[in-house]
């Protein structure tokens, strides 16, 4: 394999790792925001609707 092909293969692998990391961060962040929102709603409900 030539140097250029090795380099391109390596960069492609790097992009997969980086892409996965950001996607996972985005997915977990969204999941945590939803959980937080549902916890807040439950808190409001148990306090009698918040009024």
């Amino acid at each position: 394999m030539s140097l250029s092909s090795q380099l391109l293969t390596f960069l492609a692998v790097a992009v997969v790792y980086i892409g996965f990391t950001f996607l996972w961060g985005w997915y977990k962040g969204r999941q945590e925001d939803r959980e937080e929102a549902s916890t807040d709603e439950n808190t409001v409900d148990t306090s009698g609707g918040g009024r």
């Binding site: 250029s4 380099l7 790097a14 790792y17 950001f22 961060g25």
Partner: protein
């Protein structure tokens, strides 16, 4: 003797760089009021600075001196260690880093003391064992950084390597002991940017001299194709990947950085950003290493390749930039390791076992004194290089193997397996660490490990992690389940009632 006469512009640039670093140390000193400030910068670090600090901490002399030198010696194929290392970061983002940030203490032994706290002393014995193992492994690591620093000073200004080592230790001890984590993280940011800029600027200049990638490829294909192909065996590459991968997922110096970040979201973003830094720097270092092989094929030691490049190829300003990047790589790792290692003595042993009532001011000073003491021991070790092996990269790998062998299993299983108990966790740390050390002695110093094994197992971290895993599972299953107080901080479905039972 210096390798070439130094241009005043070159010297000026390097001196300004050192002054900036010491200035940041002073800023950190002014801002540090208590131990939380000193050890985790008040937990105020955002994703960009966080990503930069993870990068600068991880990429040490091992990268800009050692890895550069290994590429010079063995060729481009060594670049494949990076995906192994990044696999460690993926394990970290999935299973370790956010969970540790949520736990939010000051040191890794803090985690050990809580999770493996059924030792009859509220986890203090387990904490002390973890702290001592960290101090030993990081003493080895620091000696590699100091060796590299000495080599660079020797090449630059012609002083004895020992004097160069002393200058490096002194600079790092001064700004780390006065500035603490805040100074360390801010200098890391400057240093990560310097590293990336240094190699990114050096790369096109070097490729231009050699006729681009095609030129380098043509030169090596004709007489030494392994330099642009793969010179290492699969077992060796897998061994290096495993050493770095296991160690980075459990590295105390990275976890202390993670404690310093604002929240779990920041931690995930910072890990993504550090991978970008690492891809840029890793690729550039690989190409620069093989470029140097074309330009200077007969260097006395491969560890000099990056220094020779900055002195002879890049001109005074670019050269100084790359040298500053190399110093950055060394100092940013040395400061982080000194803080973690010093905290092992000051926070985990002095503050928890010897003087639990110490005031905040006394604790900050205990940390400062520990940093100074723990800078001196590796300096002495670095004077006797034969003990650890010659090349910088190989000493770095040994430290990585020690860290992976002792912490990977207790950390990952402690966070995700409720049945892991104190006896299992502590014996796993000790057996993992001991296996790595015995394997290293048996392969590098006394040759009692059979060749049939070493040809398949490329690095001591593999038997280390295996033994640590078997010990943790076997001992935990054979002894009592852990108490709820050890599980509650890590498992949402476990709570401690007044009677101490699990719900």
């Amino acid at each position: 003797m210096a390798l070439v006469p130094l241009d005043p512009l070159f010297v000026g640039t390097v001196v300004v760089y050192f002054l900036v670093i010491l200035g940041i140390g002073y800023y950190g000193y002014v801002k540090t009021e208590d131990e939380v400030d000193f050890l985790v910068a008040g937990r105020s670090i955002g994703p960009v600075v966080g990503g930069a600090t993870l990068s600068a901490t991880q990429m040490s002399a091992g990268t800009l001196v050692g890895t550069f030198g290994i590429h010079y010696l063995l060729g481009f194929g060594f670049i494949w260690i990076w995906p192994g290392l990044w696999a460690g970061w993926i394990v970290s983002i999935l299973l370790v880093a956010p969970q540790m940030r949520r736990f939010g203490r000051l040191t890794v032994p803090d985690f050990i003391a809580v999770r493996y706290g059924d030792d009859g002393a509220d986890g203090d014995y387990a904490r002390a064992i973890g702290a001592i193992l960290i101090v030993i492994a990081y003493t080895v690591y620091l000696s590699a950084q100091i060796t590299a620093g000495g080599l660079i000073f020797q090449s630059l200004i012609g002083v004895a390597q020992e004097i160069g080592m002393f200058i490096m230790v002194l600079t790092a001890v001064i700004y780390t002991s006065i500035g603490g984590m805040r100074a360390s993280i801010l200098t890391d940011f400057v240093q990560a940017v310097m590293m990336a800029t240094g190699v990114l600027v050096a790369l096109p200049v070097s490729l231009y001299f050699l006729g681009g990638l095609g030129g380098i490829n043509a030169i090596f294909q004709s007489f030494q194709p392994s330099i642009v192909g793969q010179a290492l065996s699969t077992a060796d590459i897998v061994g290096f990947m495993a050493a770095f991968g296991f160690s980075i997922a459990a590295a105390p110096y990275e976890i202390t950085r993670i404690y310093s970040m604002r929240d779990e979201k920041t931690v995930r973003q910072a890990i993504g950003i550090t991978l970008i830094f690492q891809a840029i720097i890793g690729t550039s270092v690989a190409l620069l290493g093989i470029s140097m092989r074309v330009m200077f094929p007969n260097l006395s030691t491969p560890d000099l390749a990056s220094v020779i490049m900055s002195l002879n190829v890049l001109g005074p300003i670019l050269g100084a930039l790359l040298i500053a990047a190399v110093f950055s790589a060394i100092l940013s790792t040395v400061d982080s390791v000194m803080i973690v290692s010093g905290a092992g003595l000051a926070h985990d042993i002095y503050g928890k076992l010897i003087n639990p009532d110490a005031s905040d001011t006394r604790m900050v000073w205990a940390n400062r004194i520990s940093v100074a003491v723990l800078g001196t021991i590796p300096f002495l070790l670095a004077l006797n290089k034969g003990l650890l092996g010659g090349l910088v990269q190989l000493i770095v790998v040994l430290q990585a193997s020690m860290m992976g062998g002792m912490f990977f299993v207790p950390l990952v299983f402690g966070l995700h397996w409720k049945r892991a108990n104190t006896l299992g966790g502590v014996t796993a740390m000790i057996t993992g660490f001991s296996t790595v050390v015995i394997w290293h002695i048996g392969t590098e110093i006394m040759s009692f490990v059979p060749e049939s094994l070493t040809s398949v197992i490329g690095d001591p971290v593999i038997p280390g992690v295996f033994v640590s895993f078997v010990t943790l599972v076997a001992v935990s299953l054979a002894t009592r389940t852990p108490s709820p107080k050890c599980l509650e901080p890590f498992f949402k479905d476990v709570t401690v009632t007044d009677g101490g039972s699990e719900e």
